[in-house]
């Protein structure tokens, strides 16, 4: 019973095809990755970094009067808003175009071009399970071995 079960799983695994939603999710993740600042962890994350602002020599030779300076932390708390919050706020306060959202260019009038997901040269073929493009049997092999359904999107 158990062996028949796993046999069936293998069969379905072979015929597995990414559905449309999964393909879109993959495409969106790829675009989001292009926006990332770092792909690794903070190398000093294990250190307790001094929260103190580094001291730089004051540019003012003879300060006319003693000024209270506020820390970087103060401004972090004072102006704390995420990008998403700011876009939302803008959409309600400056809802009439032109604004940040309306300035985005529309899609190109030219048809999309397709490139091999492995070597980057123009491609004519589409991988049936995942929709990626490939240019040759060799590249398809590499694609199946390395990415294709091995990615979980």
């Amino acid at each position: 019973m158990a062996s028949r079960e796993s046999g069936r799983v293998k069969e379905s695994e072979k015929r597995r095809v990414l559905d449309d939603a999964a393909r879109k999710r993959r495409a969106r993740k790829a675009i989001e990755a292009l926006e990332q600042d770092n792909f690794h962890e903070d190398p000093h994350a294990d250190l307790v970094m001094s929260k103190k602002v580094p001291k730089f020599a004051d540019s003012n030779e003879k300060p006319t009067r003693k000024k209270k300076t506020r820390s970087a932390e103060y401004y972090k708390m004072r102006f704390r808003k995420t990008f998403a919050q700011l876009v939302e706020e803008d959409a309600s306060s400056r809802s009439e175009p032109p604004n940040y959202l309306s300035a985005q260019v529309p899609p190109s009038k030219f048809p999309d071009r397709h490139f091999c997901a492995v070597c980057g040269f123009p491609s004519n073929y589409t991988c049936i399970p995942c929709g990626a493009r490939y240019c040759s049997v060799k590249c398809l092999g590499t694609h199946l071995d390395t990415r294709c359904l091995k990615w979980t999107a």
Binding site: A27, A30, I31, A33, L34, E35, Q36, D37, N38, F39, H40, D42, P43, H44, L47, M49, V53, P54, F56, A57, D58, S59, N60, T64, K67, S71, A72, E73, Y75, K76, R78, F79, R80, K81, F83, L86, V87, E89, D90, S93, R94, P97, P98, Y100, A103, Q104, V105, P106, P107, S108, K109, F110, D112, R113, F115, V118, G120, F121, P122, T146
Partner: protein, 395 residues
């Protein structure tokens, strides 16, 4: 009042360009804090990175996200550094400040800018302005033209901004969400998949991009060349990576011969050399459903009044880090020329110094007899508050 010099800070998402109007050129400093694997004692703030012996695996902390100032603690730390003796010292009670902000900057960020410069840095006179405004002023000073299309292809995105008689025509402004950051990240991704995992090496791969990439004038023809083997392939090169003992910055060279003994690690670059900058011209190549730069220029001009189109096409000016790729100007010119009606002239100018063009525009603007009428003073801020800043500055 009129001061003899003005402090100009073009506060970009990747680098800040800073200096007094009396100096020839600004300092260009990274607008970020970096942490190195090799030095656990301290973070490197802005140009302090020059003191870092080994820049492999640098970790970035940036004040800007998607082109907007989001992380104020990071920005404050970088500004404190910039205004200190270590970088470009200033006394804001003596010199007016011109500082740039992104187009359509969100109103709460604008308020924060006004507050921090009047209250924390105690500016006497402040001018908050878009970098494209300074670039347009620069261009108009030199050309005495009526209308201009400013193309700013920077780190976070590319903006196309039409100006008519010195005023930005907001209905014509267009943004493409592709800039230097997307290009570097895409190059990192394909090198990591094809040959060597460099996902942690943004700093180095950004240099690879700067040293190796060019804008193709005939993309499909270059793809054919890149497919050929041997001496026919004039595109394929090797990039020698820095090892931080003998080489601090990598370089591009002819392909390493099989019998050649080279100690350093290399990357093979072939179609990567031109398919990366190609994203500025065809964002859809990586699935970003947007027009490329030349098409977006036509779209921006198309949104402007009919009577200004001729002058706009004759005065297209390009600046920003991405415009430094060899072939960038020619490709923009050729495509815009092909799109535009035959009876129009098309002129496309690459700024002499694409990184500092707006900063230099600030120098010209400071000499404008009306300069102080564009500024807001500390007294005005104290009397009328932040609301006045929204009236005075057209961000």
């Amino acid at each position: 009042m009129s001061e003899t010099s003005c402090y100009i800070l073009d506060n970009g998402g990747y680098t800040a360009k800073v200096g007094f109007s009396t100096t020839n050129e600004p300092k260009i400093v990274p607008n970020c804090i970096m942490k190195a694997k090799s030095e656990r004692r301290r973070p490197f703030i802005a140009s302090q990175i020059d003191e870092c012996r080994d820049a492999s695996g640098l970790f970035y902390i940036l004040p800007f996200q998607k082109g907007f100032l989001i992380n104020w603690d990071t920005q404050k730390t970088v500004w404190d550094f910039i205004f200190s003796k270590e970088c470009c010292p200033v006394n804001f009670s003596e010199a007016p400040l011109i500082i740039t902000e992104p187009l359509f900057n969100f109103s709460s960020i604008q308020e924060a800018m006004t507050e921090i410069f009047f209250e924390e840095y105690e500016c006497q006179s402040l001018l908050r302005i878009n970098a494209t405004d300074l670039a347009e002023y620069h261009y108009r000073k030199l050309n005495s033209n009526e209308s201009t299309v400013v193309v700013d292809s920077g780190y976070s995105f590319t903006y196309i901004v039409p100006y008519i008689k010195g005023k930005k025509y907001k209905d014509g402004i267009r943004r493409i969400d592709v800039g230097g950051k997307v290009l570097t990240n895409h190059l990192k991704e394909i090198i990591s998949y094809r040959q060597l995992n460099v996902m942690d090496e943004t700093y180095v791969i950004n240099q690879v991009k700067e040293d190796s990439c060019f804008v193709s004038q005939d993309f499909m023809a270059d793809m054919e060349i890149a497919k050929t083997r041997g001496s026919e392939n004039t595109i394929v090169k090797d990039y020698v990576l820095p090892d931080y003992t003998t080489i601090r910055r990598g370089y591009l060279r002819d392909v390493v011969k099989p019998d050649e003994d080279l100690e350093q690690q290399t990357l093979r670059l072939n179609n990567e050399r031109f398919s990366i900058p190609e994203l500025l011209f065809r964002p859809s190549d990586v699935g970003i459903p947007q027009m490329g730069i030349p098409e977006a220029i036509m779209e921006a001009i198309g949104a402007c009044p009919e009577e200004n189109k001729e002058s706009l096409l004759e005065n297209i000016v390009l600046y920003g880090g991405c415009t430094l790729f060899p072939g960038f100007r020619d490709r923009v010119y050729n495509e815009v020329r092909a799109f535009a009606l035959d009876h129009y002239d098309v002129n496309v100018t690459l700024a002499d110094n694409p990184l500092t063009y707006p900063w230099e525009g600030g120098k010209f603007l400071f000499k404008d007899p009306e300069f102080y009428s564009f500024c807001m003073t500390k007294e005005e801020y104290e009397e009328e508050g932040k609301a006045l800043a929204f009236e005075r500055f057209d961000i």
